[in-house]
Amino acid sequence: MPAKRALIMHPSDNVATAVEEIRAGDEVAVPVEGEVRTLTASDPIPFGFKIALQEIAAGATIVKYGETIGKAGQPIAKGALVHIHNLEGTRARGDLTRRADR
């Protein structure tokens, strides 16, 4: 079975965006600077959602477009789905500001 496709937006990204429906256990092919890296999805990754290209420690920066899109709220395994359950946005967070002020 051919590998499923996911795209990065910048060579320093540690997540890729699925451009087809990926099931847990599927091989995923990610073009990176002329080469194709492959990994195995450990979760279902719906079209348009993100897969971790490497292990990401809790609190580490999650990078897409070569820029910070948030921090890992918990350890994220290579091949796992990256979304609001394990990615924390860091900007405009009134809830966090309020807590710090108290």
């Binding site: 451009v19 079209f47 348009g48 959602f49 609001i84 946005g89 405009a92």
Partner: protein, 395 residues
């Protein structure tokens, strides 16, 4: 490259040729129902109980829509009773619209036989004015006369990968040709402001971008909320976007790569040609009328739609006199609403077109629409009311 448009007395060029009747109300609505070829502004925001700044914003919308090159001429009637604020007086609006050199006729119910008299006089005037407008002919003009405004919405990850980059290609092309392009949505710049500030033509413009974003972020923090309960909106999250930063970093791709020449207020006309950032709000009932008031002769909505099921008809967002195009890169959105979509760039994700090929195709579609081809939503007779972007408390 060039398109065919209506050259106006001030040298601006229209992509459409309407008679505009403002402000909204029963007089304008009745005239527009009676006479084809007319347009009016429908809004709930008419100024009563609003601060001077907000009333000035409303005036900017009315004047700007009146001066938009897509109007051949304008009928303006004295405002509704109770709205006698200086910013919104008919004489002031008329003077500023006439400064653009086009014909402006005034209806005054107090002198024209009351509401009924003003309606009848307006119908007669509007019939003559659309007839005169129909004698105008399109002329071939440079792309430098294009003025575009864009919003991305129902964003999902296809927006950042393919949809917004296609808009960015188009914007670069229009700006390189000497035209004007506007983008905005300040909340959706949070997390991407440094990338934009680096593209400012000078430090003052860079600072203005950073200041606009900082103010918006402070307002967001002051709510005490996790911004993700507000924005990204639920459809963004269902479409795969996980944070405001991720949404912003995808959103700015629609601005292409040209230098940013200035920061504009909602409905403020740009001082020159080139790319401008507008400190506006993303609301689809708000943003397009603001672009039209700033002089846009064509507006674009780049739609993700990943989290939106069942939208098989995409009606226009209110843009009053500016033709409105739908673009999407999401194959599901496109398949569901094919006969509403003007431009599809999911081909880039599917691997059947390069981003440049898709961008070129988009450009040719825009030129066709600017020259008179209808947008898909112009084939539907529907207009939501405009929500004018007012930011101060009301009393």
């Amino acid at each position: 490259m060039s398109f065919h448009g209506y050259v106006r007395p001030d040298g601006s060029v229209g992509t459409r040729n309407y008679v505009l009747v403002i402000p909204q109300g029963i007089i304008a609505k009745t005239i527009c129902d009676f006479v084809p070829g007319t347009k009016t502004l429908i809004t709930t925001d008419h100024g009563s109980g609003r601060t001077a700044n907000d009333r000035e914003t409303i005036a900017r919308v009315l004047i700007g829509l009146g001066r938009n090159p897509n109007d051949a001429s304008v009928i303006l009637h004295a405002a509704s009773p109770g709205v006698g604020y200086p910013e919104l007086r008919a004489e002031r609006l008329v003077d500023e619209i006439r400064a653009g050199g086009k014909r402006v006729e005034i209806l005054d119910p107090a002198q024209d036989g009351g509401t009924y008299g003003a309606i009848v006089k307006g119908m007669q005037l509007a019939r003559r004015m659309v007839y005169e407008a129909s004698k105008l002919r399109r002329e071939e003009v440079s792309d430098a006369h294009l003025c575009l405004g864009v919003k991305c919405g129902y964003s999902d990850t296809t927006s950042g990968i393919a949809g917004n980059p296609a808009v960015g290609y188009l914007f670069d092309k229009i700006v390189a040709a000497g035209g004007t392009a506007m983008f905005g949505e300040t909340t959706e710049v949070i997390g991407a402001e440094q990338a934009l500030a680096r593209r400012a033509v000078n430090p003052a413009v860079a600072q203005a971008i950073l200041d606009a974003v900082a103010l918006r972020e402070e307002l967001a923090k002051a709510t005490g909320l996790d911004i993700r309960t507000v924005n990204p909106v639920p459809s963004n999250i269902k479409g795969g976007l996980s944070s405001l930063e991720e949404k912003s970093l995808g959103a700015i791709h629609k601005a292409g790569t040209a230098p940013i020449r200035g920061v504009l207020k909602y409905a403020e006309p740009p001082a020159g040609k080139g790319l401008y950032f507008v400190d506006n709000w993303m609301g689809s009932l708000s943003i397009f009328a603001g672009y039209a008031a700033a002089g846009a002769n064509l507006v674009l909505f780049q739609l993700g739609g990943g989290g939106v099921a069942g939208r098989t008809l995409l009606e226009s967002c209110p843009s009053v006199v500016a033709p409105f195009l739908w673009a999407t890169a999401n194959p599901k959105t496109y398949r569901a609403a094919t006969d509403s979509v003007d431009f599809y760039s999911g081909t880039v994700i599917e691997g059947t077109e390069t981003p440049e090929e898709a961008g070129e195709r988009f450009y040719r579609i825009v030129i066709d629409v600017a020259s008179g081809t209808l947008t898909r939503s112009e084939t539907v007779n529907y207009a939501d009311p405009v929500e004018i972007y007012l930011q101060e408390p009301r009393f």
